[in-house]
Symmetry: C2
Subunit: 345 residues, 2 copies
Amino acid sequence: MTITLAVDCMGGDHGPAVVVPAVLEFLQEDSSCRAILVGLEASIQPLLAKAGADLSNRITVHHATEVVAMDEAVATALRNKKDSSMRVMANLVKDGQADGAVSAGNTGALMAISRFVLKTLPGIDRPAIASILPSMKGHTYVLDLGANVDCGPDHLLQFGIMGAMLAAALEHDERPTVGLLNIGEEEIKGNEVVKRAGELLRNSGLNFIGNVEGDDIYKGTAAVVVCDGFVGNIALKTSEGLAQMIRVFLREEFSRNALTRLAGLFAMPVLIAFRARVDHRRYNGASLLGLKGVVVKSHGSADVLAFRHALRRAAEAARQRLPEKIATRMAAAMQNMAPEPTLCD
Amino acid sequence: MTITLAVDCMGGDHGPAVVVPAVLEFLQEDSSCRAILVGLEASIQPLLAKAGADLSNRITVHHATEVVAMDEAVATALRNKKDSSMRVMANLVKDGQADGAVSAGNTGALMAISRFVLKTLPGIDRPAIASILPSMKGHTYVLDLGANVDCGPDHLLQFGIMGAMLAAALEHDERPTVGLLNIGEEEIKGNEVVKRAGELLRNSGLNFIGNVEGDDIYKGTAAVVVCDGFVGNIALKTSEGLAQMIRVFLREEFSRNALTRLAGLFAMPVLIAFRARVDHRRYNGASLLGLKGVVVKSHGSADVLAFRHALRRAAEAARQRLPEKIATRMAAAMQNMAPEPTLCD
């Protein structure tokens, strides 16, 4: 099955300079994929010069006259830029010309445009952003990571279903474990929303293992960790801050004097291997879930390697028909839960 | 000024075996302090045998017949154990025989007992737990860390005031910066509670620098970071999980084969220096704020070094008359804000 990805070449801190080489590398490694490069043709074409015939045959350039700036107001991007590379990319998915989309642009604008163009799946109130974090057992899917700051219990249930389907699609694990992020393992712990979400998840038919705590994200206790967007964003950003501090402290200690620098030289291969294991570029590519189409958000500062990982995730989600799977699972959940008044809150 | 600390010898994973030696070391380093050791006299006395005359003169043993178990229900601890070491410790502070209290016991029970015995300060609806985390600029005070899971805007304001007073007392910084943990720096970010808490904090007279994000905790952007107990607990536990994963990965990489083990040997002094900088034992001693008395909670698994840090924090908070300072600041805030209807939510 050939998968065609629509790629927003103008997003991110580096635009086509990173996106185009990443697409070329990705197509080289995955011969079953094609790409539609969306953006200012004059910026994209020169970067394709190096591509051989095989790659060129699998690439189309789709000109779009406008660009959504990284700091642009969501409303402006949505209403005034009908020919932005982001909007055109989403249209290509909607029209069936592409099976999935990837952008490193403005997150808020990408979410708003994707939602407006593609619409949400039946039963999904709000799309969510799911990301992957490294864990001692591999990695953990965490959602929501900032799209939804005021969530009800039913939203957390929907996140659980979407996250489980995402993990199933990308990990080829039919019944991934799902945990609810809370401040204790006991059912009585947490605020009211979380307690009621726990009840819904227990009756959802998912492989729900109950409450998990913050440290369980990195222990790999559950394949999928569900939380509201506020908490998820804080957990993610706090982790980024701690990781950065540890990097800085390690570097400082190894460059303190000639002796420590020598030790650093000896330890270099080990430190490189260590860094590779926690390299955030390998975890690039957050999924916008709950839409009628596959949309993956790359980190704005992604380099070629990182963007390539985002492309891989999008291609796999499209290949696994993730939106259809979420829709099917949601329909089943809604049928199961219809008599439950708790869903109507 | 002599400071007397009441110390619960029975709390924590190790009980008197850790607490008593930690008190002895602490009294040795701080000759202006005295200690009342509370707990089963028969367990405590043998551990005092080694103490010289100078130390013995500054130590009293106060027998208490009961012990609150680490996993004991809060209600049982509060209602049925009137002669627990924890309860007797709190009574000593209430009666003015001690200037502050330290326990490594059951957090929930310590909070409930402290609140019941000591009562909250005027204007404080709920006590908070404030902890210290390392940062690139030194360290950051974060509160609340789990005592309050459903907070309103006025609670976050109170946390801001209490945290600022704590940082002022322990850091000797008259106007420590205060940040509100949020998912973006802009005032429009976040959920409704946080947005309104931002308004209250802006008008509070504190050195409020606005919203901060998760990574700012470790960047040291603000001296004090305010959040509700749910978010604070998740941030703290997530950090613990990530730190543990990094430790495990580093150890694994350095013990992969003979060559990496040799590299580890060369790098050992550097790794030790690095570990010392992020050693969580140095950050042990969370403050229970908002009570009419100084109460510090040590981590249950604390060793002698860690418990000594908790004792230091309690002594300094007592020396600086922290509860009085919080009361004064709260009274001023309540006067300032009285006409504001927002405080009445």
